[in-house]
Symmetry: C2
Subunit: 207 residues, 2 copies
């Protein structure tokens, strides 16, 4: 309604943006990168495709925004782990990864991004965007743990985060095994044990 | 030659088998599961397709044999790690996984099996076969380490092996990051540290 859009500046624009990005992620989940088109997203969102071209430039700009927004929302930024205990924080993070890989709406998106045959530069760019957004949200959790002395000095936070997610994606994409809470806790415990043991200390970057 | 086939019983049959399985893996790497056909494999191997149907029943029987044979050869069974030091054994195993993921002929096979959009039951069956053959080769290495007391009693060897491979497949399929010897050593050190810390002890299988 015009009135409510006027009373909350940007309200209608924000709603349009959300509708388009949701439609774009839904198309990606349903049809993969190659099958996603601006026309279909516009139809699904119930807007004119000219709006998409004007705002996002085209398919790749739209997908980039959609995937980054999806990555942010999936990570539940309002509930990022900060219990003061790094082992528990990593466990909660692994549970968040688990939720993404098992969610009825999110799992197909992950499959479209990472299980897709697509070795195209465009898909690889979307993967990188997803990973950058997700990791940027949790890396501070590990940095705080290093600062508190819970992890050895020089620990590379990115390495820790990668080793939390790896076993879960491996189950999902490679082993085709059930993603259980136990698997998430084990993935987090694996990365935590290695981090405590100093496996991710930098300073020996021979390659 | 007929003579040499006669002088080594099964020699020609074995050579035909090798030629067909090699051709099948090459087709899989080039065209993925969906694009692989008995006709094309027969043509590539230079044999009559009736031979394939007689011996393997059809496409799926052929692919199953081809993938299992590929998995066995990739694992260099003649050089399985057995240094007496489980950390070093796991490191050598991770280097073998690395070799598979970076080999010019093997990497495309792995992409066809695991990076394929294919969520078909047939592809999932091939994935399971690949994993079963590979893990069966290295699990005894971990079992010996438990028997020697180098790892805690009750350690699940399969969990250890999975956590060695996971970070490397994650880099390959998800992160699109370079697969370096350092990454392999870090993956092995991660699983080893967690195993030493008792992360893979069973006895608490709540789910």
């Amino acid at each position: 309604m015009v009135d409510s859009a006027r009373s909350r500046p940007g309200g209608r624009t924000a709603r349009t943006r959300t509708a388009v990005l949701d439609a774009c992620v839904a198309e990606l989940a349903d049809r993969g990168y190659a099958g996603t088109s601006v026309d279909a997203v516009a139809a699904r969102a119930g807007i004119n495709k000219a709006t998409i071209y004007r705002r996002w430039g085209g398919k790749d700009g739209l997908l980039a925004d959609a995937v980054e927004t999806f990555a942010t929302h999936q990570a539940h930024p309002e509930a990022l782990p900060d219990t003061g205990d790094v082992d528990e924080d990593l466990r909660l993070w692994a549970r968040s990864v688990l939720a993404t890989l098992t969610g009825p709406t999110s799992a197909p998106v992950i499959r479209a991004l990472f299980g897709a045959a697509g070795d195209s530069p465009a898909v690889r760019d979307l993967r990188r965007r997803f990973w950058r957004v997700r990791s940027a949200l949790v890396i501070p959790v590990v940095e705080r743990a290093v600062d508190r002395g819970q992890l050895p000095p020089g620990t590379d936070p990115e390495d820790v985060v990668k080793h939390v997610g790896a076993p879960l994606y491996y189950r999902f994409l490679v082993l085709d095994e059930p993603l259980t809470p136990h698997a998430a806790d084990q993935a987090a415990a694996t990365a935590a044990a290695a981090a405590h043991a100093g496996v991710y200390r930098s300073g020996d970057p021979t390659d």
